[in-house]
Amino acid sequence: MVSPVSCCQTAGGCCPTASWYLWTDSDSCSDWTGSFSRTSRSSHSEDRSKMASLGCFLRSGNNAVSVVLRREFSKTPPAAVQVNVRDALNQAMDEELERDERVFLLGEEVAQYDGAYKVSRGLWKKYGDKRIIDTPITEMGFAGIAVGAAFAGLRPICEFMTWNFSMQAIDQVINSAAKTYYMSAGAQPVPIVFRGPNGSSAGVAAQHSQCFAAWYGHCPGLKVVSPWNSEDARGLLKAAIRDDNPVVFLENELMYGVPFDLSEDVLQKDFVVPIGKAKVERRGTHITLVSHSRCVGFCLDAASVLAKEGVECEVVNLRTIRPLDVDTIEASVMKTGHLVTVEGGWPQYGVGAEICARVMEGPAFNYLDAPAVRVTGVDIPMPYAKILEDHSVPQIKDIIFSVKKVLNM
């Protein structure tokens, strides 16, 4: 029986695989430390399901947590390399810039500053002014320029420093990019990627913390993706750059520094994660948790805790917001009979709301043993004080609580 270690969120949430162990000296983790078991072995099937991509991470800029990482030999082959999400994005862009001369990156501070969050580190040095372009602080203008460049045959990557600033340019994303192929009856494709960090960060307050998954996910003509881990980040960014359509690429600043194991296959230059396909990160039988981006990690943490009480959660990582992989969600719900969606964004008209509506309208409804519920960000602008911010976002305990409610435990 595996006892994977979890840290609760405030100490810096870890998502260990069965082959990693974490020790921490944070008080708030004392609940979990008692359940460490260094000699226990995971079952082969659990190994397989968990080996793909999890690692431990330190939450950037927060309370220091001393961590001892130890890797245990397991039956499955060791993952090739540990890569954090930032580097995965960086490598993906580097490889795609090399592969296709028409690809270029523009945005604020992407060149000489190496990227506001260092995601484009080293690219300007390697590719120069022509392909890595620093823009003035004029989102509407440079987003329009990026779309125009896509009209004329280039393949721009347009970075928004955060997706909050995309609101200044949202007309170009929707009316100029998303709708043009349709309005022109197929004469004018728009092969552009808009990317940047989305959703809440840490202490950046209301104007810098909004999640735009639901806003962009609403619009036909866009593909909207929301990677969680490094494999997602790498594969989806490559897929987005190679796609001939406008892709909204929603990253997460708090995930940038988180390392994950990447297998040799994933590190291949032509590795892509198909847009529009969700991934089951953890198999389970009692309830389905559907999530995207950072919250996937929280779902896995909650699942670990619940497993000790005999509740086996199936965790679905959406990977793509639009088009939504309803088939994977329905298949899971038809298996487990219970559904909880988890997202960082606000509840009203959100991603979870859409998932619930789809389940209502489809075959999976008849398999539900209880109403589907949503775990979401609190319906308020993001406050600044840490205690308030912590209570504005879904916590692992909220997921556990909701699961138990839905299962009538």
Binding site: F104, K130, I133, T135, P136, T138, M140, G141, F142, A143, G144, I145, A146, V147, G148, A149, A150, F151, A152, G153, L154, P156, D171, Q172, N175, S176, T180, Y181, Y182, M183, S184, A185, G186, A187, Q188, P189, V190, P191, P220, G221, K223, D244, N245, G276, P323, E361, G362
Partner: protein, 374 residues
Amino acid sequence: TLLPSPLLIMVASSRSYADFTPEKVDLHRLEEGPPLTATLTREEGLKYYRTMQTIRRMELKADQLYKQKIIRGFCHLYDGQEACAVGIEGGITLSDHLITAYRAHGYTLTRGGTVREIMAELTGRRGGIAKGKGGSMHMYTKNFYGGNGIVGAQVPLGAGVALACKYLGNDQLCVSLYGDGAANQGQIFETYNMSSLWKLPIIFICENNQYGMGTSVERSSASTEYYKRGDYIPGLRVDGMDVLCVREATKFAADHCRSGKGPILMELQTYRYHGHSMSDPGVSYRTREEIQEVRSKSDPISMLKDRMLSNNMASIEELKEIDIAVRKEIEDAAQFATTDPEPPLDDLCSHIFANDQPFEVRGATPWTKLTSTS
């Protein structure tokens, strides 16, 4: 009768007109401007005449069809401004690029569209240039990026096209048009900035027809000298009713761009006879007298016709024949546009994504499953 002469040296901007004052080209941050004389060949003259007349009659036919409710929605007509579209095209080539706002039927024609497909798009038929999916404001041809409905948005798009030209090193440029109403848009100033910083091969053209919808330039703009609004960008203002002026100014601007000097801004002083759109009679914010005065003193087609006739470049009969041919072309196109079937319902969801597998689209109810193909 005198035989028409093949070649003539003409003085550009010879027109004088009550409210439009340019007797020369106005310059901003330019030591010298386009030449004040231009050479018009008979062939060019006849071509410009025919194209302008085609635009004129096409727009008037659209007016008619709109009143018969065969065209619906938005319809922004270009009659009066023909010299701009035709003159600009005379100064660039079809391998250059152009983008404009919603008053786009004239440009769709000069950029290679046919009257048939333009009219069929207005009537929303499958033979339309955008297969009925776009309508009046969303027509596209090669190197012509519409037709854009959001005021001002086309200007940064045009700069993006120009960036691609520079990036690909193909010596092409992009003409990015906007009106006096759009000229105050913030994103245009953002575009001036980036185009100048990066020396993009873009010609900004402000088609100043004196009114942004119902708001005259005096009421919308603290500075109505639109050719100076680019500040650090060199600018020139010319008579937009004179096709030769427009052509020479465009050639000058194109040379400027192609020499790597970066952007340049042209203001064309012009006038629209119709209201802002078909739902605007166009007389609540301006007088009928004003419209009539422009028609009688500055009509672009009349001006060219008079020039050609008075210089023996063409005979009245010849021009009449062109008129007849144009009318026939418009009638045929209108016939096509009114009889061509509407797009098939199968097309409803197509063209969402390029180069993709077909996928399911949710219809109006959960049971309506539609398919989208690329």
